[in-house]
């Protein structure tokens, strides 16, 4: 289990991370979410032991993270890039040797992963000769080849086509299922929604909301309805019962105030709109993200 307690990182003029705490259990994917500049990268760097926090403790399996622990860390940074003039196998060798893997292990595992990700043919090609997606696969291999106990993935799916996204997703899930601790940092809320069981949403270095995703959704609001309609629905946002509206042409997602009865609301609007379908929905993570960030920005 990875445990982060009261983490704070102050730079001269800004507090990049302000007193955040969370725990990541093995066998689950933890989503580290937030807009640009929220403090995700700083948090990741502190966990990776690249920078020291101003205060707070990071520990893994109840031991503080030390220089020896780096061999059990896997990291895929958001911005990709590899040594362009070097061959695929040499690059993998180099990074794996930095994780203290023996030569034998490296060649066995490199062959396994290159084969599994469908890039075995490019083993001896220079990186620059590979397509962008294949380069990303090589980088993915360098992050996981040493079978890390803690894997941190920053936007692992960006730049992949749907087929490769699925391949990467399956690989990540196999890691999770073998009891690894996995942190996923992303802007793609639908991805996070499908993969993460727990999340931490950061904004301006502070926690905005965290915990079990199902519970967050329940807390956030059960009073959401989806209305498919014909006609002009722009009046919806001005109704007193309505907290917020997302209009999408032929349908709208409406967040009602807690005390509002859905049946009464339907009756009220059915005079003004031809309603094809009226259903209760869960808020999407995307919705939670936008609303929570807006609220936190207003504060």
């Amino acid at each position: 289990m990875l445990s982060v307690k009261n983490l704070t990182k102050e730079y001269k003029n800004v507090t990049a991370v302000n007193d955040i705490s969370f725990q990541v259990e093995p066998g689950k994917i933890f989503g580290l979410l937030g807009p640009n500049g929220a403090g995700k990268t700083t948090t990741i760097r502190i966990i990776l032991n690249i920078i020291k926090p101003t205060s707070g403790i990071v520990s893994f399996e109840d031991k503080p993270i030390t220089n020896e622990f780096v061999n059990d860390l896997g990291y895929l940074p958001e911005e990709r890039g590899l040594y362009k003039k070097s061959t695929v196998i040499n690059v993998i060798n180099y990074f794996a040797s930095l994780k203290n893997l023996s030569k034998n292990e490296i060649s066995k595992k490199a062959d396994y992963w290159l084969d599994k990700l469908g890039i075995a043919n490019y083993r001896d090609n220079n990186i620059e000769e590979l397509s962008k997606g294949n380069q990303q696969k090589v980088q993915f291999v360098t992050a996981i080849i040493h079978d890390p106990k803690l894997l941190i993935l920053d936007e692992p799916f960006s730049g992949f086509d749907p087929i490769n996204q699925q391949l990467i997703r399956e690989t990540i899930l196999s890691f999770v299922n073998s009891g690894k601790v996995v942190i996923l940092s992303t802007h793609q809320m639908d991805t996070a929604e499908k993969l993460c069981s727990d999340i931490l949403l950061l904004n301006k270095g502070k926690e905005v909301c965290k915990g079990n995703l199902t519970k967050i959704k329940q807390d956030f609001g059960t009073n959401n309805v989806k209305i498919e309609f014909e006609g002009n629905a722009s009046f919806l946002s001005s109704l007193p019962e309505v907290k917020s509206v997302d209009l999408y042409g032929v349908y709208a997602e409406v967040h009602l105030k807690k005390e509002v009865k859905r049946a009464e609301f339907l009756r009220k609007i059915s005079d003004k709109l031809l309603i094809n379908q009226f259903s209760v929905i869960e808020p999407t993570l995307n919705k939670i993200f936008i609303d929570a960030i807006n609220i936190s920005n207003k504060k």
Partner: protein, 418 residues
């Protein structure tokens, strides 16, 4: 330690494969050899056509003798090197007429009737003045040929006039010159001439410069690449910055030792062919010590500064600042050779940035006391440790900061940060 070796191995093998390295490995010795051989080659390259040289002899005494002497100068194929034309009229009376004659002769040069002419001004009895008049820069070989011939003719004439035995002529023409000998404690006398000392020291200083600049540039560029594609984050999440930095310096130093070895082999091969004087390799052991220490020291500085660079242009700037410091010893080189024990030379040899190059110079000029060698090597070793320590502090923060270049104040803060 394993990780340091992994980094060193990577830096060594990946750099050795680059085109830039191969080019510098081949081109550098070619340039140096070209520079070393250019003067000799230029000297030997002479025009192969006969030159028409006029003689204006106000005294009327020397033309015949000169013509006789110049017949000895031959071009390949037994053609005469010079054909002499007497431009002097039979009678010359007034100085006005002399001036007129010079004007006419000058014109002949301009009209390409003759290549050039020798003006022998006669001031009566033994006083003569010579001018070589041509419309291009005078060829020093021609001048020295005529000078030599004229002086011999002059001595011949004088001897004849005074009735002196012509065999005594050798006393005047063959001058005795002083042979400089550098004495050593081992009792082995060595011929030491200025040029040998100059070149043997310079070859090493220039090699050091070229190496530091080319590999420093290579290092900074590769760090910039790692920084711009965020590879550095993977690297520093796999090993400590100090390991990374030490590995890079180690790998690069090995790479350059390899390069020196190759160059050394080329040098030895050329020494065998007597193109390069063997004296260059006289102090090779100590030369190499200073060379390697100097290289490691400068590389340490490069790593630290390189970590703060955020663009290629900034990297270029660092490179040029450091080259300037490297060139400094060359400014002092001449005075160091002339006076190896001067105060400034001593001071500069204790200043770590100039220690390597000044010591390379001093070693070849005069015996350096053992105490000085020990002190300067210690200074270099301590400087290397300090430079790597400071660089690793700057490196730690520098490699993770993008965008704006840090100010000096920020750099000092980075060094202080725990």
């Amino acid at each position: 330690m394993n990780k340091i070796l992994s980094v060193a191995k990577w830096e060594f093998w990946e750099k050795i494969k680059t085109r830039a390295f191969l080019i510098s490995m081949i081109v550098t010795p070619v340039i140096i050899i070209a520079f070393a051989m250019a003067p000799t080659m230029l000297e030997n390259h002479e025009s192969e056509t006969t030159k028409l040289v006029g003689i204006v002899d106000e005294s009327g005494l020397y033309f015949a003798g000169l013509q006789e002497k110049m017949k000895e100068e031959k071009l390949p194929g037994d053609l005469p090197k010079y054909v002499l034309v007497n431009l002097t009229p039979d009678t010359l009376a007034t100085s006005d007429e002399n001036d007129q004659l010079i004007k006419i002769s000058d014109k002949k040069v301009f009209n390409n009737k003759i290549n050039s002419y020798l003006l022998i001004k006669y001031g009566g009895t033994d006083s003569v003045q010579l001018q070589w008049r041509s419309n291009a820069t005078a060829n020093y070989k021609d001048i020295s040929n005529f000078e030599k011939a004229f002086n011999e003719v002059r001595i011949d004439l004088k001897f004849k006039k005074e009735g002196i035995d012509p065999s005594l002529k050798g006393l005047f023409t063959n001058q005795v010159s002083i042979q400089p000998i550098k004495i050593t404690e081992e009792g082995k006398d060595k011929e030491s001439d200025f040029l040998t000392v100059f070149f043997s020291s310079f070859v090493f200083i220039i090699l050091l410069m070229i190496m530091i600049m080319s590999s420093g540039g290579m290092l900074v560029r590769s760090m910039l690449e790692e920084k711009s594609n965020r590879l550095i984050e993977i690297l520093v999440s796999s090993c400590t910055p100090t390991q990374l930095l030490t590995g890079k310096i180690l790998g690069l130093s090995l790479l350059n030792l390899f390069q020196i070895t190759i160059w050394g082999l080329i040098g030895i091969a050329l020494t065998g062919a007597t193109t390069i004087s063997p004296e260059i390799f006289e102090n090779i052991g100590l030369d190499l010590v200073y060379f390697v220490l100097g290289f490691v020291f400068y590389t340490g500085i490069f790593v630290g500064l390189g970590a703060t660079a955020t663009t290629e242009q900034e990297a270029q700037q660092f490179n040029s600042y450091i080259s300037m410091i490297l060139i400094l010893p060359i400014v002092f080189a001449i005075s160091a050779i002339q006076n190896p024990n001067s105060g400034i030379v001593h001071i500069l040899s204790y200043f770590p940035l100039t220690t390597p190059s000044i010591m390379l110079l001093r070693l070849n000029i005069s015996p350096v006391p053992l105490s000085d060698i020990i002190i300067t090597i210690s200074i270099l070793i301590v400087s290397i440790i300090i430079s790597i320590y400071l660089s690793s502090k700057i490196f730690k923060i520098g490699v993770l900061s993008y965008g704006k270049r840090p100010t000096l104040k920020e750099l000092i803060n980075w060094v202080k940060e725990e």
